[in-house]
Symmetry: C2
Subunit: 311 residues, 2 copies
Amino acid sequence: MVALASARSAGKVLSFAGGEVTVREATPEAFDGLDAAIFSAGAGLSRELAPEAVKRGCLVIDNSSAFRMDERVPLVVPEINPGAALEHEGIIANPNCSTAIALMGLYPLHRAFGLKRVIAATYQAVSGTGAAAMAELERQVRAWCEASPAAPEVYPHPIAFNLLPHVDRFLDSGYTREEMKMENEGRKILGLPNLKVSCTCVRVPVFRAHSIALHAEFEKPVDLGRARAAIADFPGVELEDDPGENRYPMPVDWAGREACAVGRLRIDRAFANGLALWVVGDQLWKGAALNALQIAELLHRKSRLKTTSAA
Amino acid sequence: MVALASARSAGKVLSFAGGEVTVREATPEAFDGLDAAIFSAGAGLSRELAPEAVKRGCLVIDNSSAFRMDERVPLVVPEINPGAALEHEGIIANPNCSTAIALMGLYPLHRAFGLKRVIAATYQAVSGTGAAAMAELERQVRAWCEASPAAPEVYPHPIAFNLLPHVDRFLDSGYTREEMKMENEGRKILGLPNLKVSCTCVRVPVFRAHSIALHAEFEKPVDLGRARAAIADFPGVELEDDPGENRYPMPVDWAGREACAVGRLRIDRAFANGLALWVVGDQLWKGAALNALQIAELLHRKSRLKTTSAA
C-alpha cells in the first residue's frame, strides 16, 4: 500500500492498518509496479494522472467526475452493475455521492417493478463539499451562539440555520451539475438511457450523511409488501420503516455507517404505479470511499477467480 | 379590538398598535358584539368555540385544521380564490402553512398552463411547530457547542444538525397528516378535486420560513418566459431567480417577510409539460397570520362595498 498526494503533502506520515505509511508525491512514475490505485483528488488531477497510471499497468478507480460519462469507462455500484466493472479499459469510475445513495433505494425497486420516472429532492450534508465546509458550518453555529457574525467563505451564503438550493455549478438550463449528475449517472448505472429523471439538489445544515426524498413511477403495478421485501433483501441497504414507532432514517443515525437506509416507503399518490421513499446514506462511505473499495475488492476477487480457473 | 385566550392568560396586558390590550377569557359570551374573530388556538378549541361565535353573529377566520375540509367552510388564499370567501356560512378556514406557500408558487403557473400533477418535498422550519420547538433547536445547538447532550422534548429525535421526515402524525397509508393536508387543501383551494399530488414533508434545522421543492406537470405546453412573467406579475410572490449571481430564495432571507419567493424556475426534465421550482415563505406570515388578516380585509372591503352600493 502506498499513499500518493501533491508535493506539498509528500513526507507526511499516516497511520494505516496498525502501521505507518509515508506519503509520496503523485508523479507518473509513482504508479510503476502498482496493481490498482484509488484516485480521490478532483477531476483535473484525475485527467492528468489516470492515463499515466493506466500506461504503467495500474488499474484506476476514480472518485472524481472526470471519466464518469466517458463511454469507455464503466461507472459502477458493485451491488447494481458489477458486470460493467469487468469491461474496463484501465479506468473505472465511482459515481457521484447522491447518485449512489439514491440508487441503493431505487435499484431494488427497479428490479421488482421496472423504473420509468424519478423525481428526487436532496437534503445534502456539508461533508459533501469537504472538510472546509464542515468547519464553516461549525464556525457559523458557534458564532451564532455568541451573537457574533461569521461570514461565509466556502459557500456563497450562510449555511447555519439556512438552506442553499445550490449544489455544484449552475448550467444554462437552470439545473446544477449535481442535478444533472444524478440524472446522467443514474441512467448509465441502471442501463436505462431513456429514464425520466428530474432533481432538485439542496445543501442543508447537517454535518454528514445525505438524505433524498424520492417519488418514482414504475412500468408494472407496485405492491408495498413486495417493495419492502425487495429493499430488505438487497445487500448494502437496510429498511428502517416503522413510522408508528417514529422510526425512519435520519442523517445523525446513518453518518459513519456503511449501509444506506430506506424508510417512509409508501404508495405514491401522484403516479398510477408509483412508490415514494426516503433514503439516507453517508456520502463518505457508500457515496465515495466504500464504493471505491468495493470496486477494488470485486476486481481482486474476479482476477483471483480467473487465476484459479486458469490453473 | 379584543384579545381572547384561555383563563390562564386572562388579565395579561399586551401592547398593540401603540396602545395596550388586556387579554380576556375566551368564553362563548366573549364573542357577543364582535364582527369578526381570528382563531389561532388549535383544532379542539376551534371546534368548541367557533360555533358559539357564529351563533352570536361573529365571523370566524380559523387558523386550525378543524374546518378546512368541511364542505360548508371556504378554504381561502385571498390572491387565489377570494370569491370562495364570500360564500361563507360564518366560518372561513385559513390553510395549512406549507399548502399556502406552495400554492403561491404553483397558482400563477396553473393559470398559465393548467396544473395536472405536483410532486413536493418540503424543508420545514421549526417555527411551524411553535415557540417551544424554536427553543429546542436553540438549546440543542448551544449544548452541542458545549459538547453536552440536550435530550429532545418537543420532537421525538434531535433536530439540531438532523432531518426528521416526519411533520404531524403518521396515517396508516404511511403518509403524514401534513402531507395529506397539502394534497387535500391544495385541491380544494385550486378547485381541482382530481389534481394528482404526492408530498414528502421534512423538518429541517432552520428557525423560520418553509422551503418547498416542486416538480409540476401541466396540461398545456410550458414556456419559461411566460412562466417567469406569471410569477413576477402575481401579487404576494416575488421572483428571485438569478442562479448565475447565486441568487435564489433562502429561508434566512425570507423569514419575517410577507411575500413568498420563487426561484430555481426551470423546465422539468421528467414531465412532457413540466416546470420545477423552489418556493420559500415565512410560515408565520403567508402561512398563517398574514393570510388570516388578508381574509378579514377582503371581507371588510366587500362588506363596505355592499353597504356603499346599497346606500
